[in-house]
């Protein structure tokens, strides 16, 4: 009797003790220490990469390349930016970066007075080096240390040579560009013109439009009305390409036209794959990021002073529908 009661109580007690132990262990294990406070700021370069087109494949690659390089060089890189070309916010970010006194700014160039003001006056005032990436702004305007990215002039030239090879030495070519006519775009147009001017039978029509879809469509329509014999289109701003191609497609078949563009817009790849574009200048975004960070660190370390004001071009190549498929 006594034994039975003792045994029963003992068993129950042991079972509960077992569960208590498990619970206690879980309780102790669930404790998670807060992150260790850091007494001092890290002695690493604080770099900021600012772009207007966060989230696009092109800029994702630039960011990846930059981060990998920053990791390698032991720099602290943050990628800031805006989605969908919010210029105002972009400039604000740039100003914050300058006011935060980062060690270096790698920025997508924007050929605007506000931008130039910030880089030329404010950044220079605080002594913060600025490197433009992917899109350039002339050094005289922006006081940038250097430019890392495709050589827009060469890209224009490349596309023009391709055009001549495809189309022949005769025909009307429409160049469609953004009405803001940034430095990049001007360089590209310059490149195209440079090549095509050698062919007297090739006529160049340069059309600019703002980047709203309707305007692009209207501009395309207008130019096709005015020059029905147009044979080729070169969209010098990748952001305009999709709308332009759509508009052409609305009017007639796309095939007879030679349409060329650049790759710094997410839609381009798809259009090329569908065969709606005849050729695209493909750039090397990840190398842009890499080189940008490397150059910045080299400048900060004082290894390469001054940086080449002409810039460090990254490779470009023409990619056709065959390549894409």
């Amino acid at each position: 009797m006594h034994k039975t009661i003792s045994l029963a109580l003992g068993t129950i007690c042991a079972v509960f003790l077992f569960f208590t132990m498990i619970s206690a262990i879980r309780f102790v294990q669930s404790a998670w220490q807060p992150p260790e406070p850091q007494q001092r700021a890290e002695e690493r370069y604080r770099l900021v990469l600012i772009t207007q087109d966060l989230g696009t494949p092109f800029w994702n690659k630039v960011g990846e390349g930059a981060e990998a390089e920053a990791e390698k060089l032991g720099a602290n890189l943050e990628i800031w930016g805006t989605y969908g070309e919010d210029r105002e916010d972009f400039l604000k970010q740039l100003e914050i970066a300058i006011d935060s006194k980062v060690d270096g700014i790698i920025v997508q160039g924007m050929d605007q007075d506000d931008f130039d003001n910030l880089t030329k006056v404010k950044a220079a005032f605080y002594g913060i080096p600025v490197i433009t990436v992917a899109s350039d702004v002339p050094m005289s305007d922006s006081m940038r240390k250097t430019y890392v990215g495709s050589n827009a002039l060469a890209a224009g030239r490349m596309i023009a040579e391709r055009l001549v090879a495809d189309m022949g030495e005769k025909g009307t070519v429409v160049l469609l560009g953004d009405s803001r006519e940034e430095y990049d775009q001007r360089q590209r147009v310059l490149g195209v013109r440079g090549v095509l001017s050698a062919y007297p039978n090739i006529r160049i029509e340069y059309v600019t439009t703002s980047d709203e879809e309707q305007r692009i469509a209207a501009a395309t329509q207008d130019v096709m009305n005015r020059f029905p014999e147009v044979k080729a289109f070169i969209s010098v701003d990748a952001n305009l390409t999709a709308a332009m191609v759509q508009e052409i497609g609305k009017r007639s078949r796309i095939d007879p036209y030679y349409i060329y563009s650049f790759d710094d817009n997410p839609d381009i790849k798809a259009l090329l794959g569908q065969g709606k574009l005849d050729g695209v200048v493909e750039q090397a975004p990840s190398e842009m990021g890499e080189t940008g960070v490397r150059m910045m660190v080299q400048w900060l370390d004082g290894k390469t002073v001054p940086l080449d004001p002409e810039g460090y071009p990254t490779p470009i190549r023409i990619s056709t529908t065959e390549d894409a498929s």
């Binding site: 006594h2 009661i5 003792s6 109580l9 003992g10 129950i12 007690c13 509960f16 003790l17 569960f19 208590t20 619970s23 206690a24 879980r26 309780f27 669930s30 404790a31 998670w32 220490q33 807060p34 992150p35 260790e36 406070p37 850091q38 007494q39 001092r40 700021a41 890290e42 604080r46 602290n76 943050e78 604000k92 100003e95 914050i96 970066a97 006011d99 935060s100 006194k101 980062v102």
Partner: protein, 488 residues
């Protein structure tokens, strides 16, 4: 010896210890959680402080620019000082996750102060346009600071997310742990209390049982209590009492037995004395007559008659003299022979006595007049009723520590009832021509003399003859018989 009090103290101490440990644990955990919460709140508050300090600075700057007085300037300086303090306290919040943002944040604060100073400087140099431009910039920076605060809070939430979750999880686990501990302790205490109460009540029960036994008069059972406390002391004392009482009772019983034996002896002696007195009626006159008769018979040539008379006289003398003292077997055998001579004279050829006597055994002490009554009994029962007579066989032999005396006859035997009567020392009515002393009397005296009941065996049944076997120890157990006899 663990006292009951100490046991109770132990139990209480144990319970209190467990309670205290749990209390301390809970308090510690609560304190820790509270500290953690405080830390977290502190972080948020500090960040918020920066925002409000920066706004305050811009506000002060604005007021100063509108009305540039000393007072407003010093209030601006105070605001800036506050902002710097907030900045330095923010520096403590740095960790791996927010390093970049925090550095930017602090630099932003620096920029704000610098811009503010620049604005003041321009103002003092009357360059109002530059001053207001700097003010606009300061306002913008203040806005950036607010934004950055939000960003930092966001980072904070991300970095600490797991920590917050772990706090919640831990609180949940603590709840469960509490329940388990409660259950475990409840049952543990139940078990402990059970053992503990058992260790007190079991000895009490054992003691109660022992007391009941004693009350019933069972003093022989030993009192055993498995305990080492006060109860055990009680039990030991109780046990000693029991042993004492038991000893006293045994002593009293022994005394009572001796008393009754003594009483019996006295009665027996009185009876014997009475009988001897009865037979002492002028013994000398009887002896003289028997002597005279013997001589006269001798002179008249009846030698046989003379011898017979001598035997009768000897027997009579022996009877009178030896009843109350120890004699040797030799004397007994002699008297028995004299008796047999007399009886032979009476029964002539009908009585045959065969004796086989080991002479070395004849020095054994025996109570007086023991053989003769047995032989007389045999003669009375076996020879007298039979016309053809019979044989009485007597054997005395050495059997180690005792001497056996066997008297057997070939008569019709005795009934079981009668034998039992003799062995239970009941005096039977003397039959026929007895010398006066009954068989029962002999048995009683033998037992008293040797102090053991195992002295005599009677074997006999109807038609088988009677065989009486005496086992006389060579060494007597005690001398009670003699002493009482002497006293008597």
């Amino acid at each position: 010896m663990i006292g009951i009090q100490r046991k109770i103290w132990t139990l209480t101490a144990l319970v209190m210890f467990i309670m205290a440990s749990i209390w301390i644990m809970l308090t510690y955990y609560n304190q820790k959680t509270q500290d953690q919460y405080n830390d977290i709140l502190q972080r948020y508050l500090r960040m918020n402080e920066v925002t409000s300090a920066s706004k305050q600075t811009v506000n002060s700057l604005n007021i100063y620019l509108l009305t540039p007085t000393e007072g407003n300037l010093s209030s601006l300086r105070r605001s800036e000082e506050q902002l710097r303090q907030a900045q330095s306290s923010i520096g403590l919040l740095r960790n791996g996750g927010n390093d970049f943002a925090l550095t930017s944040y602090m630099n932003l604060i620096d920029s704000l102060i610098e811009t503010s100073d620049r604005s003041v400087l321009f103002k003092s140099e009357q360059e109002n346009e530059d001053s207001s431009r700097a003010f606009a910039e300061a306002t913008r920076i203040s806005g950036y600071i607010s934004e950055m605060t939000l960003q930092l809070l966001d980072i904070e939430l991300n970095t600490y997310q797991q920590f917050y979750r772990s706090i919640i999880e831990q609180a949940e686990e603590l709840k469960k742990l509490g329940i388990w501990i409660l259950l475990a302790i409840t049952f543990g205490l139940l078990l402990f209390t059970y053992w503990f109460s058992l260790s007190i009540t079991r000895p009490v029960q054992q003691l109660t049982k022992a007391a009941q036994d004693l009350a019933k008069g069972q003093f022989e059972r030993q009192i055993v209590v498995n305990s080492s406390d006060e109860i055990s002391f009680l039990a030991t004392t109780f046990e000693r009492m029991r042993v004492n009482i038991n000893n006293l009772i045994l002593e009293i019983r022994e005394k009572a037995r001796l008393e009754s034996e003594l009483q019996q002896n006295r009665l027996l002696l009185q009876e014997s004395q009475l009988r001897s007195l009865q037979s002492q009626i002028n013994p000398h006159f009887l002896f003289n007559i028997l002597d005279t008769l013997s001589k006269k018979a001798f002179l008249e040539g009846a030698e046989e008659t003379s011898d017979l008379l001598v035997s009768v006289a000897g027997l009579l003398r022996y009877n009178l003299k030896r009843l109350d003292r120890a004699v040797t077997l030799y004397d007994e055998v002699r008297v028995m022979r004299q008796y047999m001579e007399i009886q032979t004279a009476r029964f002539t050829d009908r009585l045959t006595l065969i004796t086989e006597i080991d002479e070395s055994c004849l020095s054994t002490p025996v109570p007086g007049l023991t053989l003769q009554p047995i032989v007389e009994n045999a003669v009375t029962h076996a020879i007298e009723p039979s016309e053809s007579g019979g044989t009485i066989r007597m054997t005395i032999a050495d059997a180690g520590d005792c001497v056996t005396v066997e008297i057997a006859d070939d008569g019709p035997g005795m009934s079981e009832e009668k034998i039992r009567g003799i062995l239970e020392e009941r005096d039977t009515q003397p039959e026929g021509h007895s010398t006066g002393i009954g068989f029962g009397n002999v048995v009683r005296r033998l037992r008293l003399f040797y102090g053991t009941p195992d002295v005599i065996e009677i074997d006999g049944g109807e038609g088988r003859g009677v065989r009486v076997l005496l086992k006389l120890p060579k060494i007597r157990r005690h001398d009670t018989y003699d002493k009482t006899a002497d006293r008597g």
